[in-house]
Amino acid sequence: MEWEVVIGLEIHAQLATRSKIFSGASTAYGAEPNTQACAVDLGLPGVLPVLNEKVVELAARFGLATHSTVARRSVFARKNYFYPDLPKGYQISQFELPIVHDGYIDIDLDDDTTRRIGITRAHLEEDAGKSLHEDFHGATGIDLNRAGTPLLEIVSEPDMRSAKEAVAYMKKIHALVRYLEICDGNMQEGSFRCDANVSVRPKGQEEFGTRTEIKNINSFRFVERAINYEVERQIDVLEAGGEIVQETRLYDADRDETRSMRSKEEANDYRYFPDPDLLPVILDDDFIEAVRKTLPELPDAKRERFMTQYSLSHRDAVILTGSREMASYFELVVEASGGEGRLAANWVTGELSGLLNREGIEIDESPVSAEHLGGLLKRIADNTISGKIAKQVFEAMCRGEGDADTVIEQKGLKQITDSGAIEKLVREVLDNNPKQVEQYRGGQEKLLGFFVGQVMKATQGKANPGEVNKILKRLLSGD
């Protein structure tokens, strides 16, 4: 039987604020345990929450960037359950009336097509603390520094049909929240993580199959692997005549498998109700318009602009707008090169990306600055060096040997463009290879490459290839 995969993602993005969502404690990462947990975060008797204005603005920014409705009225609710990292015995979240709902984003697929993924809702909530299971005489230690950190939970429609699409969606949201500067996207620190709802159904069937939820996946690679594993597992179960149990599963990256979390004795009954300590959040048009004005150019608009302004292919434009850092690096290269858009695109997606991949580093850690790369491209464009020589210069720049002009100067890589000098060299080559000249004139015109190679060899690649070709053709034709 042919199966169709159905995936929906719930992404938790930590909002980039200085203080917590309901208290004035710091959200800085990495502090000593419980030194950033104030009375409110600890849920001491009598304390009360007051909402941080920044989280409202950041959530609205996300809503506006995803064609969503930013709710004029949203309500905080309590989600009640007991867990040691949840100090109050309830999490303040949004339930019936989230701040953002009914939007979408378009994701770019490998075959250069796009697919629209619905965003059901994005709601504000507080994060829980952290349980440390290292041994404290058989006890678990609780650190509540993270408790009360603001999160935006972004819930998609079940619109994805493969693990690859899920990854593309997650990457797009990741790029978007960083473009919007609402989340630092740091997956190691847990600032951006996701749960995946996965089900399969026979192809053509209308209703969804039973889904499982894979919890807390914190890398793109793991999302793909976890979903693929889970899809195979579900298909195996179904094809063996079994049934999928609706449950929560954990992905174990070491074993590359998902496994059921210890089944709870009782079904969760969160007893949601509106939090009486908080009032409805009312946003007016002025507020929303003010937020709209702060929006940066968004990835899709930027991609379109790149395609027209720099005559880039869709594919290059997608890559170059994949992150805000990548896009701004690219534009700086173009500027420094004197407007060489296509050339810049080739180099950034080619040489530079290759280098970053090999080194496993991000673009903002690139050993070659955008200004230096642009300077190099400028020398290609003005024929100071050839593309081939440029690669040598690039490598030297990677090693920190200075900007392009310095490297070209020091290594004497400047292209020979003086036609008199080139003609002299060409004549030497022709004189030294009379047999080949004869063969060429006898009709074997593909020998032209051989002569070019000889000239280049004699000049260590520095002769301007266009000029060499022109002169060779002229002399060989017997003029």
Partner: protein, 95 residues
């Protein structure tokens, strides 16, 4: 409206309340009485009436995003039943 002892056990469990088996019956009886008394609400037609979660129709006030709290761990943990290395300790949680 009548709540049986199983219901009492289930609610006590949800609320993590240790209730003696011997008290279950008393609670079942008094909760049944209370919910029987509450039943009279059902006689009221509330179609189209917006639930009132707050006495005043006010809107949420917003706080500037500023760090105003400093570390008071020692003071807070002085009243904690069990701490070590700055952490609150609970019986081992198995995930």
């Amino acid at each position: 409206m009548s709540l049986d002892q199983d219901t009492i056990r289930r609610i006590a469990r949800l609320a993590r309340l240790g209730v003696d088996e011997s008290e279950n019956e008393t609670y079942a009886r008094s909760l049944s009485d209370i919910f029987a008394f509450v039943e009279q609400l059902n006689a009221v037609d509330t179609t189209g009436i917006e639930p009132m979660a707050h006495p005043l129709d006010a809107r949420q006030r917003l706080r500037p995003d500023e760090v105003t709290e400093s570390n008071q761990r020692d003071k807070f943990q002085k009243i904690a039943p069990r701490v070590e290395a700055g952490l609150y300790l609970v019986p081992r949680v198995i995930e």
